[in-house]
């Protein structure tokens, strides 16, 4: 389904997992990579344009939303956006007050940024996997990963930012205490200094890595399942009325946007009638499923339902992951502030 008509499922999946990379290619110089191999050849001197763009865009969305609310913040009765934003702020404030006991004006806004930003990045996972890449493909952009948190660069970048803060506050608050914590901690004897240092360093480094990789792993796996379900959707095309539906009968392998537009309008119409109370909900669901089966065949219907089911479950995952990243950040910073 995606892009330059990938021949097989493997290619489809690979295509979905390739970032839009701009970098210094040994042969082509600074250019966009054509495929994963070229991207790999670019090495470190490359940047994932899609990840960066989506992550910055979502960050700006966060800033705009919360800045609008902040501007409208009054001591009177709150309403609309302000209510929503205050709900989140209060939630974060409570979580931070629960686990952070030092005095630092930075931790709460940091936690808010992390939570909302990561949540927004994860939220991109709920957009249909093919929608944005397919549309951008029409505009001539060959690769597009729209979920920044499935890019380890993004998650590790944030984790490293947190790590730097941990180091900074550890040294600032504990001073030499931080060094003795690293060298004298499990075994309080000078002879054990190398062993202590090794163990504590590993423990220290494990924090940002686990932080970044946990988020990356969860989101990557979730995205992968969306893609796998989508491959079932794609596999059915052309396999007759049962597999590919009327669509395959009429158009064969050719994609026709108009046909899907017609199905989309029919489904919207049925849903609209249901909202006006003209047809019962049971009938609405049945009709929608019939339209989908007619359009894409039974496998498409199954794929759609599975996508929907996984998306519902995923709402929980994305919120939980954003929350875990935030809470662990606060806990790590709290540990950095604790003087023994």
């Amino acid at each position: 389904m995606a892009g330059e008509n990938p021949a097989s499922t493997t290619e489809y999946i690979q295509h979905h997992l390739t970032n839009l990379v701009y970098g210094n290619h040994p042969e082509n110089g600074w250019s966009f990579a054509h495929g994963a191999e070229e991207a790999a050849e670019m090495g470190f001197m490359a940047i994932h344009v899609d990840s960066m763009a989506w992550s910055i865009g979502l960050g700006i969305l966060f800033c705009l939303l919360f800045r609008t609310a902040a501007k409208r913040a009054t001591t009177g009765v709150p309403s609309g956006v302000l209510n929503f934003v205050e709900l989140i702020v209060e939630f974060i404030d409570g979580a931070v007050k629960d686990s952070f006991h030092g005095h630092n004006k930075m931790v709460a806004p940091l936690a808010l940024t992390i939570f909302v930003w990561i949540f927004l990045m994860n939220l991109m996972d709920l957009l249909p996997v093919d929608l944005v890449p397919e549309l951008l493909m029409l505009a001539g952009v060959n690769y597009q990963k729209i979920v920044p948190s499935t890019d380890p660069n993004i998650t590790l970048g944030m984790a490293l930012g947190v790590f730097i803060l941990m180091l900074y506050y550890s040294i600032k608050i504990k001073g030499t205490g931080f060094i003795s914590e690293l060298t004298m901690h499990p075994f309080n004897h000078w002879g054990f200094i190398p062993i202590n240092l090794f163990m504590e360093t590993v423990g220290l480094l494990a924090k940002p890595f686990s932080l970044g990789l946990r988020l990356f792993g969860n989101m990557y796996a979730g995205e992968m399942i969306f893609i796998l379900i989508a491959t079932m959707f794609a596999a059915g095309a052309g396999a007759g009325l049962i597999g590919g539906g009327i669509h395959a009968q009429i158009f064969g392998e050719q994609t026709s946007a108009l046909f899907w537009l017609a199905i989309f309008i029919l489904v919207c119409g049925v849903c609209g009638l249901n909202l006006k109370g003209k047809i019962s909900t049971g009938k609405t669901v049945l009709l929608c499923m019939v339209f989908m089966a007619l359009g894409g065949g039974l496998t498409a219907l199954g794929g759609g339902l599975m996508q929907w089911g996984w998306a519902v479950f995923h709402i929980l995952v994305i919120t939980l992951q954003a929350f875990i990243f935030m809470v662990l950040t606060v806990v790590y910073l709290s540990m950095a502030h604790e003087d023994h």
């Binding site: 997992l17 990379v21 970098g23 991207a39 790999a40 670019m42 090495g43 470190f44 001197m45 490359a46 940047i47 994932h48 990840s51 960066m52 992550s55 910055i56 960050g59 966060f62 800033c63 919360f66 800045r67 609310a69 902040a70 501007k71 913040a73 009054t74 001591t75 009177g76 709150p78 934003v85 205050e86 702020v89 209060e90 404030d93 004006k105 930075m106 709460a108 806004p109 940091l110 808010l112 940024t113 930003w117 890019d151 380890p152 660069n153 993004i154 590790l156 970048g157 944030m158 490293l160 930012g161």
Partner: protein, 156 residues
């Protein structure tokens, strides 16, 4: 899945957004929320106070009413007593006046009686003499019998 410059790009972006949030978002919202919290707490306090004041005022009003009632009852009592007193006084005065009038009347009567007696005495002497004169048909010396008849009249 290559680690590349994106890592640092994200770190810089991260730092920028945290700074933005720290400077323009968090303090403003938290301040507004805390202020509102204070306002609400103050409002609730004021409501409590007002309730207490109301209760106090009600108690005071009840007390005052009771006092007023007592006072009114006192005044009525006093008025009744005063009225009785006035009536008694009036009665006494009336009795005294009656007595006085009676006494005056008695005195008048006595005087009248005495006067009548005097007159009677005066005329009795004359009448008796005239009678005696008629009886005797003789002229009796008025002078020698006068004393006798006067003595008789005094006995009346």
């Amino acid at each position: 899945m290559n680690i590349n410059l994106t890592l640092f790009g994200q770190m810089v972006t991260f730092a920028f957004f945290v700074w933005f949030c720290m400077k323009f978002v968090w303090p403003v919202i938290i301040e507004a929320m805390e202020e509102r919290q204070k306002k609400i707490a103050d409002g609730l306090d004021a409501a409590d106070r007002a309730l207490r004041d109301l209760e106090l005022a009600q108690n005071k009003a009840t007390d005052q009413m009771k006092e007023a009632k007592q006072e009114a009852a006192g005044i009525i009592d006093q008025a009744n007593k005063r009225a009785n007193q006035i009536i008694d006084e009036a009665k006494q005065q009336a009795v005294a006046e009656g007595d006085r009038i009676k006494a005056a009347a008695q005195a008048d009567i006595e005087q009248e009686i005495n006067r009548a007696k005097e007159e009677l005495r005066a005329s009795v002497a004359g009448l008796a003499l005239a009678g005696a004169e008629k009886v005797l048909e003789a002229s009796i010396d008025e002078k020698s019998n006068r004393a006798l008849v006067d003595k008789l009249a005094a006995q009346l």
